[in-house]
């Protein structure tokens, strides 16, 4: 079981625990270390502020020689994110280097949120709004942020959440 890819992923996890990046949470699936779930908190002072966006990172056995597949599970409104949630990021394609690890991927994605590349947009509408109607763009992004809050981060902890809500209200 302990292939090079898995060993490397365990090392990545250790590194995340030792030197955790800001506003990013990532952990592998309980039963499969090759699939990770990650949450990126939208950077402050941007339209994505306070949003909690879920991602899945799927590694294969060729990691770290091949990049993993990164995909947003939350609905996104961003020039470089396809409707399916797939990302258009150069370091996840032709500029991939084996020295990148999970934390560097997530920080790159986090910085991509506020610094989109409109030269080759994956979402043409988002790119157009970002370029011409920044207020409209921010509004649409805010909608996705609010939707991200409505999502259930922990599928198995429904009861707990409700309890908490009741407590916080007063």
């Amino acid at each position: 079981m302990s292939t090079a890819a898995r060993r490397r992923l365990i090392r990545d996890l250790k590194r995340i625990q030792q030197d955790p990046p800001d506003g990013v949470s990532a952990s592998p699936h309980a039963d499969n270390v090759m699939i990770w779930n990650a949450i990126i908190i939208g950077p402050s002072d941007t339209p994505f502020e306070d949003g909690t966006f879920r991602l899945s990172i799927t590694f294969d056995e060729e990691y770290p020689n091949k990049p993993p597949q990164v995909k947003f599970l939350s609905e996104m409104f961003h020039p470089n994110v396809y409707a399916s949630g797939e990302l258009c990021l150069d370091i996840l394609q032709n500029r991939w280097s084996p020295t990148f690890d999970v934390s560097s991927i997530l920080t790159s994605v986090q910085s991509l949120l506020n610094d989109p590349n409109t030269a080759s947009p994956a979402n043409v509408e988002a790119a157009q709004l970002y370029k011409d109607h920044s207020s409209m763009y921010a509004k649409r992004v805010r909608e996705t942020v609010e939707k991200s809050w409505a999502e259930d981060l922990m599928d198995d902890d429904d009861d707990d959440d409700e309890d908490e809500d009741g407590e916080d209200e007063d």
């Binding site: 250790k14 995340i16 592998p28 909690t52 020295t99 809050w149 981060l153 922990m154």
Partner: protein
């Protein structure tokens, strides 16, 4: 695999902890994120609540305004009704009926119609009733209109400031929430400044984030920390309260002051600066007018002088031209005289030549006279000869005497002939002589004439010289005039420059006046702003008093909480001491493990993190393990994983650490 298991067990442990308890360090757990999400939602909620509050307030104000407008409408209706009633005695039945009908109708449209009819009515009446007070009313109306415009402007400004303040308020609520959020601090552990509430308004919402929690599970450290926080917040609130009270008093004073000043302002727009400014403005205006006057006077003078200069110039030029023409005419005359004199001289010279030739002829006559004399002498000689012959013949023979007598007679004849000839010649000579004398007399006459001509010539030459001198003097005069003209032109230029200067001064004065006007307008604006701020301050004051009450309530609450927490603290402190030893040992362990990990990352291959670093890439110098480099070469990914520099199988160098 063993490491993975430990992580899983950590997560399961986390699940049992209450959600509002954050993990202190290390990576963000899912719980942390959920907690963060919740807080974010609450922050948004808070913001929405604030927005709602502001909207409610604006709704109230609009409702009040609507009420006021309604009352006004009813007032207007009353006025119209009374007016109509007043009009009743006038005999315009059908109109009045319409009016009554329309005025009785409650809807606004009917009122408008009534007003229209009334206006019609008034226009129809205008012929009969002389509107004496109409002009006064219209003036008043205009005055009111201007006042209304000013108020509308003020209202607009106030609205703007209100919206700005609203935005600022929402922003500050949001910021406050964010600064008080523990989760945000957790997410960004590098900025560990504990946020202090800077406004009472904001501190009011502080307890929302410091949610009452099940404190039993808190460690003693946390409790003491919380206690400190609470006390700090209470102290700060106290301080803020005091400050608020003080500021309240100050604001009250300010309000009173502003009220006073406002009253005075309305009458006199009192402030000294304003008066000074007005004075300055007036003086500047006066100065400006003076300067304008001066400028106009200067302009007139300049125009006059220009006209004078032009006249002078024209007269000089005309005189110069006249003189010039005169001189030219004289010159022409003189030249004509000269030519005449020359022709006369030529004639005279020709005559002199003729006379000289006649003189030659006289000389010829003299020669002829001389020849005549010589011939006479010859004749005398002949006579003598004949006498001598006769004497001889008397001595020699009779024949000879006869012969001689014959020859003598011949000779006498000849002599007689000669004598007649001589006489003829003499007559001719005499005639010729007479002719010569005549010629000589003519010559003398001519000479006299020539002398006269010469004299004339000299006179003419003299006049010519005098003319040239005159021309010279005229030229000098001309030059002088030209100099004068140039000096006049210079003077004119100077005048132009002065005028330009004056114009500049004028414009600068105008600018000054405009600036003064602008400052006055600014002052007016400031006055309005001050009144605005006054109103705002009054509002704030009310708000702050409300908050004050709330804060006193919350303070008592906090005090009770503090007593509770102090109890908890005493119980927890004992626990804390026991835990202290364990914590210290753990800390040393963790630091050691971190060091170890860093060393590990130094010596293990960064790609697989399994093998030792033992293979260097010669092109760039980066070091990995043999397996990984071989794998990359066999997978045809022949670029350095770190720096993307291409390498081949020849560039691999095995190293021994």
């Amino acid at each position: 695999m063993s490491e993975k298991r430990t992580i899983d067990s950590d997560e399961s442990a986390n699940k049992k902890i209450k959600l509002d308890q954050l993990s202190e360090s290390g990576p963000l757990t899912l719980k942390d994120v959920v907690y963060f999400q919740k807080e974010a939602i609450f922050r948004e909620l808070n913001l929405v609540r604030a927005k709602c509050d502001t909207l409610g307030m604006s709704l109230k104000s609009t409702a009040l305004e609507a009420d006021r407008l309604k009352s006004r409408l009813s007032l207007i209706k009353n006025i119209v009704m009374s007016f109509v009633r007043y009009l009743e005695p006038v005999d315009k039945d059908n109109l009045l009926k319409d009016l009554e009908k329309l005025v009785e109708g409650e809807s606004d449209d009917s009122l408008e119609q009534a007003l229209a009819i009334l206006s019609k009515f008034v226009s129809s009446l205008s012929g009969e009733i002389v509107p004496t007070s109409f002009s006064d009313i219209s003036l008043k109306l205009a005055h009111i209109q201007t006042q209304y415009d000013g108020l509308a402007l003020e209202n607009k400004k106030l609205r703007e400031t209100y919206t700005q303040l609203n935005e600022h308020y929402l922003q500050s609520v949001k910021e406050n929430d964010r600064s008080n959020s523990k989760t945000l601090a957790r997410i960004k552990p590098k900025t560990e400044e504990t946020p202090t509430p800077d406004e009472v308004k904001e501190s009011k919402s502080a307890p929302r984030s410091n949610l009452p929690t099940n404190t039993e599970k808190f460690s003693s450290e946390e409790i003491s920390h919380k206690l400190d926080e609470y006390t700090a917040t209470i102290e700060t609130q106290k301080r803020l309260l005091d400050e608020q009270i003080l500021s309240n008093q100050k604001l009250n004073e300010q309000i009173n002051l502003l009220h006073q000043s406002k009253r005075e302002e309305i009458e006199v727009k009192n402030s000294d600066v304003y008066l000074n400014l007005v004075k300055d403005y007036d003086t500047l205006n006066a100065e400006y007018a003076e300067i304008n006057k001066k400028f106009e006077g200067l302009l007139e003078k300049f125009n006059k002088s220009e006209v004078k200069i032009n006249d002078h110039h024209d007269s000089i030029v005309s005189r110069f031209h006249e003189e010039k023409e005169k001189v030219l005419a004289q010159c022409e005359k003189l030249e004509m005289d000269l030519t005449r004199i020359r022709t006369a001289r030529d004639d005279l010279l020709a005559k002199v030549n003729i006379l000289q030739s006649s003189k030659d002829a006289q000389e010829v006559i003299k020669d002829l006279n001389k020849t005549i004399e010589t011939q006479k002498s010859v004749i005398d000689l002949f006579k003598f000869d004949s006498k001598w012959e006769s004497s001889i013949t008397a001595d020699g023979g009779e024949e000879d005497i006869g012969k001689l007598k014959r020859s003598n007679t011949i000779l006498i004849n000849e002599l007689k002939e000669f004598e007649t000839l001589f006489k003829n010649l003499q007559g001719i000579n005499f005639k010729k002589f007479q002719h010569i004398i005549e010629n000589e007399s003519i010559l003398n006459k001519y000479r006299v004439e020539k002398k006269k001509a010469d004299e004339k010539y000299f006179a003419v030459m003299r006049t010519k010289d005098s003319m040239t001198s005159e021309i010279k003097s005229l030229k000098d005069l001309n030059k002088k005039y030209e100099l004068k003209i140039s000096s006049i032109e210079d003077f004119r230029k100077h005048q132009d420059a002065e005028i330009a200067n004056q114009i500049n001064k004028n414009s600068s004065m105008e600018r000054l006046v405009q600036m003064q006007k602008a400052t006055i307008v600014k002052n007016d604006l400031n006055v309005t702003k001050l009144t605005n701020s006054l109103n705002l301050e009054v509002k704030k004051n009310l708000d702050s008093t409300n908050q004050l009450n709330e804060l006193t309530a919350s303070k008592t609450e906090y005090l009770s909480k503090i007593s509770e927490l102090e109890l908890k603290l005493s119980t927890a402190e004992s626990k804390n001491k026991a835990q202290g030893h364990q914590l210290s040992s753990r800390a040393s362990q963790s630091s050691g493990s971190v060091e170890l990990d860093s060393y590990r990352s130094l010596i293990y291959c960064s790609l697989c993190s399994k093998n030792w670093k033992n293979t260097a890439i010669k092109t760039c110098g980066h070091v990995f393990c043999k397996e990984c480099t071989q794998e990359r070469i066999s997978a045809r990914m022949r670029k350095c994983p770190t720096c993307n520099q291409p390498f081949s199988s020849n560039d691999i160098l095995s190293i021994h650490l």
